[in-house]
Subunit: 351 residues, 2 copies
DNA sequence: CTGAAAGCGCTTACAG
DNA sequence: CTGAAAGCGCTTACAG
């Protein structure tokens, strides 16, 4: 019953071998197969046997060796993050979310940045998974939207969850970020402020989120009797530079908009820069709304009103779904986009 | 000699078992121990034997299973990144550098964000390493400066490399970032522009880099007959907010400096914000230099002159040292800090 | 509900 | 320079 080391154990202090399944079996007076059943939460163990084994496990601080388990199981206790989003904050938040969900699970996180346009994209991805026989992977936008990648996972029998703004797969393979709702929030905010001449700066058409953010935005404008004029829609590339360029084009129009909703914060930062160069005041002359709520949003001047995306929370959900350990006790609202109002939006100037 | 599947192999296409060391041994007509020697680059194999085995390995596309190797070897083929730098760009760049160095090595990267001030910091770190029996870890600032962490690595026999701005350990455990040289570059630039009333905005004293950046800066000023007045030294916290606050204090002085060197880009961004609030023009009234060259430096207005730190390159070096596979063929300058001149610096106004 | 046997794919001693 | 044996710490069939 004591946890203090016996003389024998104490002999080679420090280098004490860590306990194995055999130690547990011997001390609990069962076979190692039964210990294995307890480790793997098999229902075919009598309650008192299970309790006895669990007590020994706790006393020795036993944790099964993931390498040995993995070798026998044919699959490593590793989960991969596959990403191509160039924004570091997105990547780090996503990693933190995955780690949140994997805590005390015995799994570890390995990362795989990739490039969909590379000729070796699929081969690299396959090698990444097969090399260590990953248990499963989480795919994030835009690589999550790539059907070739999803098909590869299915072909090689690797578990996967895709994080995306729309439903692209069966529920067990999907976490939706509901970007459409974020677009709606932006529209509601600008409409409430009294704007009517409203522009949209889109991301590239190859990203599903570009479409989702726009259609949510347009939909909610329409519901309020407003509309998005063709001339007020510009297509950017989710980059700062494209934000500057498109922002300038919109702000140089003879009948310029009084509000611009940019598809992400990077482009919104570009619009602020364009406004500064043109001598257009924000928010007095034009209101600007972004999407993401990355750190830059609160570093800009004026600080940026934007739609916050709960990336970390989404990451946790994705990995929980992958491991089949979903926790339904949390507030479902925490996984939805939400508006953060700062200084870059105000009612339109009186004419 | 053909790589096309024989009828027998082709039977269960797609699910074809991947080749093992036994397959290689059988086809090469040697024992699996000898194949193992080739895999592990043992010198005790006759050249013709080695070549024969390597040919078979290449033909079958064999790669040894890291789990099985790890189990027998007592150590996983995984390398951990332990970090507590809150800047996402630093983290992502460091990860990319580690992955650069690990390419084709058979190792995979696992990540461990941590918090030195947590009461469970050391226990968490130990669990992270022992759970999967990591091969080794790379520690980055500021956790790399923590002697408790280094001692833990030594105690549990885990290989490690510390990335830090100064020499804290033996060469096999260190990659130095030479921040002092970066400070010197900033000083040389401001001196050449003709500044004499020069201020320094320091990071927190608990970070070695704060001291290194300052002393390099001061040293190079002194060499040019300039000095850093006590009144012109402020202590920040490497955060944007501290940059705003200290920037304001410096810019509100009766005899305000004509140039400010901030210890990192975050604080430099804060100084620009303070200048804007006070109506002080940059660079006309005051020049500002940062440190890091993160993305924000080129998004600010004016764009920021700063010292670029080659984080990705440093990461590659660190992991190569850890694996004992250093490549000395690269330009040694690529690992040193270097000045990037942009819009935020100019000669001081004529009086 | 429990266990003895065989095996996962490698490496470490130990021989020769 | 090469190999047969034993073992790393688990799990998967297969019995009972």
């Amino acid at each position: 019953m004591s946890k203090s080391p016996t003389p024998e154990e104490g002999a080679s202090e420090g280098l004490r071998r860590r306990p194995t399944i055999n130690d547990i079996a011997r001390l609990a007076g069962v076979s190692k197969k039964t210990v294995s059943r307890v480790i793997n939460a098999s229902p075919f163990v009598r309650d008192d046997t299970r309790e006895r084994i669990q007590a020994v496990i706790a006393e020795l601080g036993f944790a099964p060796d993931p390498q040995a388990r993995g070798l026998a199981y044919g699959r490593a206790f590793l989960i991969g993050l596959v990403y191509d989003n160039p924004n570091p904050q997105y990547v780090v938040n996503m990693q933190l979310g995955l780690l949140d969900g994997m805590r005390n699970s015995g799994f570890e996180l390995v990362v795989h940045p990739c490039d969909r346009s590379s000729p070796t994209f699929l081969d690299d991805l396959r090698a990444f998974i097969e090399r260590q026989r990953l248990y499963g992977v989480v795919l994030t936008p835009s690589v999550s939207e790539d059907e070739r990648a999803a098909k590869l996972m299915a072909d090689i029998g690797c578990a996967y969850v895709r994080v995306a703004s729309v439903t692209l797969d069966t529920p067990d393979h999907m976490i939706e970020t509901r970007d459409r709702l974020g677009g709606r929030e932006a529209a509601a905010h600008l409409a409430e402020l009294g704007h009517t001449k409203i522009a949209f700066l889109s991301g590239p058409p190859t990203f599903r989120s570009s479409h989702e953010r726009r259609s949510g935005f347009e939909e909610a404008l329409n519901e309020r009797g407003l509309s998005l004029a063709k001339a007020y829609v510009a297509e950017g590339a989710y980059t700062y530079e494209s934000g500057v360029e498109c922002g300038r084009a919109l702000l140089e129009m003879a009948d310029r908009p009084t509000a611009i909703f940019a598809g992400n914060d990077e482009m919104a930062a570009g619009v602020l820069q364009a406004a500064r160069q043109l001598g257009v005041r924000v928010p007095e002359d034009v209101s600007v709304v972004g999407f993401d709520d990355f750190q830059i949003a609160s570093r800009l001047w004026p600080t940026l009103t934007t739609v916050r995306t709960p990336t970390r929370e989404i990451g946790r959900l994705a990995v929980e779904r992958l491991m089949g350990r979903e926790d339904d006790s949390r507030d479902p609202k925490s996984r939805l986009p939400s508006l953060v109002v700062r200084e870059s939006t105000a009612p339109p100037a009186k004419r």
